[in-house]
């Protein structure tokens, strides 16, 4: 089954995105910790896209599609903002971030640890993030 959300690119939308993901996953009867991690991974990508690629422009929109298959869950986040080359991303050293008193740099680390695969690609005028989590659903 597919679940869709289209929402304005504002930071205030993040709460609604989390509510939508939580609600969608409720029927799967996953442990609360697991649901929280999946919500977190989606929240991190959406926050990055809203803030860095769409400049929190409320006239722009972000789409979220959640698909359930027997082997897991796929989350597709798409928008018209500039793409981020995930293949060029190298994980920072957390001790270095501490030394530099950085606030950022943790979001993609979390997503990489939570999800089993992350793909980023262009589809027409959209940048699409496809996150997959292996779960035995059926």
């Amino acid at each position: 089954m597919n679940h869709k959300l289209r929402i304005a690119c504002t930071k205030e939308s993040l709460k609604e995105i989390r509510r939508f993901v939580t609600q969608t996953l409720t029927d799967l009867h996953l442990p609360e910790i697991e649901v929280n991690l999946l919500v977190l991974a989606v929240d991190e990508i959406c926050a990055n896209r809203i803030i860095h690629s769409n400049n929190c422009d409320e006239n722009l929109h972000l789409n979220l599609l959640i698909s359930e298959t027997c082997d897991g869950l796929t989350f597709e986040i798409s928008d018209k903002g500039a793409p981020f080359d995930h293949t060029q991303y190298s994980e920072p050293d957390i001790n270095q971030l501490v030394k530099e008193k950085r606030k950022g740099g943790l979001g993609l680390m979390l997503v990489n640890r939570i999800m089993d695969s992350i793909e980023v690609f262009k589809e027409k005028d959209l940048t699409v993030y496809r996150l997959f989590k292996k779960l035995t659903i059926c």
Partner: protein, 113 residues
Amino acid sequence: MNISIGKEEEIYLIGIEGDLDASSCINLDKAISEAVSAGEKKILIDCTNLNYISSAGLGVFMSYIQDFENNKISMVLFNLSKKVKNVFQILGLDELIQIVDSKEAAKTLINES
């Protein structure tokens, strides 16, 4: 998200209620920054009502670790739910930030430091 501020003897108490995300983390940053500016040396963070934390919230805590070390300021978080604590553990931040189960344990720890 709501932030509450209190003082118990020489301990500065910050309570966080709700979701700490990219939208609300600035409020926590402000509360900790004000404590540091006021010369507070013992800061407790009450997470009893913290429902959710994202990397933006973790980042606020992370950004003060070095300053706290340099200025001999202690910070202890207490009463985190399992799901919130789990987010700290994923990145190993529970090794860099003091986290305990109760307010009593937090007070004991901060008064020892």
